[in-house]
Symmetry: C2
Subunit: 342 residues, 2 copies
Amino acid sequence: MTSHGYRVAVAGATGAVGREMLRMLEERAFPVSECVALASARSAGSTLRAFGREVVVQELTEHSFEGVDVALFSAGGDRSKQFAPFAARAGAVVIDNSSAWRMDASVPLVVPEVNGDLLDTRHPIIANPNCSTIQMVLALQALHQVAGIRRVVVSTFQSTSGAGQGGMDELMEQTRGFLEHEPVQPRVFPRSIAFDCIPQIGSFSPTGYTVEEEKMIFETRKIMRLPELPVSATCVRVPTQRGHLESVTVDLERPMTASEAQATLAAFPGLTLVDDPASGKYPTARDCEGRIDTLVGRVREDISLPATLHLWIASDNLLKGAAWNAVQIAEVLHQKRILRAR
Amino acid sequence: MTSHGYRVAVAGATGAVGREMLRMLEERAFPVSECVALASARSAGSTLRAFGREVVVQELTEHSFEGVDVALFSAGGDRSKQFAPFAARAGAVVIDNSSAWRMDASVPLVVPEVNGDLLDTRHPIIANPNCSTIQMVLALQALHQVAGIRRVVVSTFQSTSGAGQGGMDELMEQTRGFLEHEPVQPRVFPRSIAFDCIPQIGSFSPTGYTVEEEKMIFETRKIMRLPELPVSATCVRVPTQRGHLESVTVDLERPMTASEAQATLAAFPGLTLVDDPASGKYPTARDCEGRIDTLVGRVREDISLPATLHLWIASDNLLKGAAWNAVQIAEVLHQKRILRAR
């Protein structure tokens, strides 16, 4: 920490994403003068290690944000809806990782590499997009700038950490139970996730899409400022711990060769090309774990269609999909002098 | 077994599919007068249980097919290429589960519900399609008959049993190793499969597609007799034991409502609709294990496009994807009196 820094609050500090937010702030040497770790009453009074010291967790209340400059929220949609306005009123800029504010027309929904230009003026609340959306729009934007995107079809392979620490724990417990022939009942996921895949993330809407699938559609359109873009998503939970994988088909306005697309993707900030399949090089969940960049591989031209590409995208859902994108927004706000430091 | 039946040979009888072939022949009461279990020299002399008795495994050689009426092959492409012609010359009808003969223009590639009409005359060799292709074409054909198919985009979630018993064993060993912090090196799969997904099934072709992906494209076109159909496939190995899952996007010639599509799919032979997501009903790998029918769920209209549907298809890759489709072909041959019984 530094005395010439910001007072930073993290709401949901004890969760899987909250802990990564604290770790990213430290790792990136974000100028923090004071760190306020907030969580539910249940966790209040416990301590966690951040910035080389023990930080006492405080209960998240309406009065938690006195003197706070930046508040990173990852405490669920309901708590964001309830408490973010108090943080904003107290003068903090809220960077919210929940879905509460994402589709609010007055709230920018930001992936810095794609639409960081929206961070040019002060907004009281800035929304962090959904994990599976962030990693996809990086690649889509790269291609869109060069060849225009007409349509997107995506199927996801999303890890259990998307449901937080409880999701990862359930995978491990159920896996152990399966191996020992002692079945473990699902709690976090709607079905048993050990050695199976569940084509449901979030609840179903009347259209037959899940909330997660609708997020990928509507958030992508908002972030890319393409309100009519046809996006189709099927979101699937797979028995992995960390890292979301996506199989993406993109129809372009004009044909691109695979090598042109590879060069375009490799040059885009935040993306790393891992694409030499003949040598066994393509990204997996394990490969992206702990990395802040998003990995793209298996870039190929469609066999039948002239202006269609296929991509395989891997990213750490707790980092670029959540904590890192939020901290990255804070960095941009700092660089642009939009935050007030004490 | 019955004295008024066929002499049936199973080549690759000790493998995961071969064992299911024997089990299906018995379970379906296929008229078998004698069963010849064939495998590599390594397995010769061992016994396996089939038709309520111990059957001694014999070495697969050029002379294995004397007096055999039907030979089911699941011993890999090289052995099929080598030995199927000897079986055919000896007078047997070969039903081959490998990829060796599938794209041979003179060899019918058959999913009985889709193109069983090709079994109207005697062919020396009949090819069983690739597992991931079979389950998909059932649903595609159902929709095609009613609304015409213009384009298909599929991403697969394929179980380790697609690589045989060795694949399932590797998943379990690596999973145990992971839990005990004793990493197990990959042998069957190109990467560690425990708690990860591998976007590679089979080797890569110069187009950037894997052999498995090309199978899904070219076999689908052949089976459906739509040689120009644009099909895009991304095939992914996931850490499940048995049952392949598919996320399929279908562009149709004319719009279909989700409920029209559901009724069409439910009425198609071999398909069972499991589609009430609000009540948690959609098929998973566990659901399809041990079933000969293919399960379809999550049928929904695209949010943006007027004549596009999305489906989720689950099927036991060792049964409809392999052993059951082969035995089903034998049943049709029997019903149409194309096989000669002794």
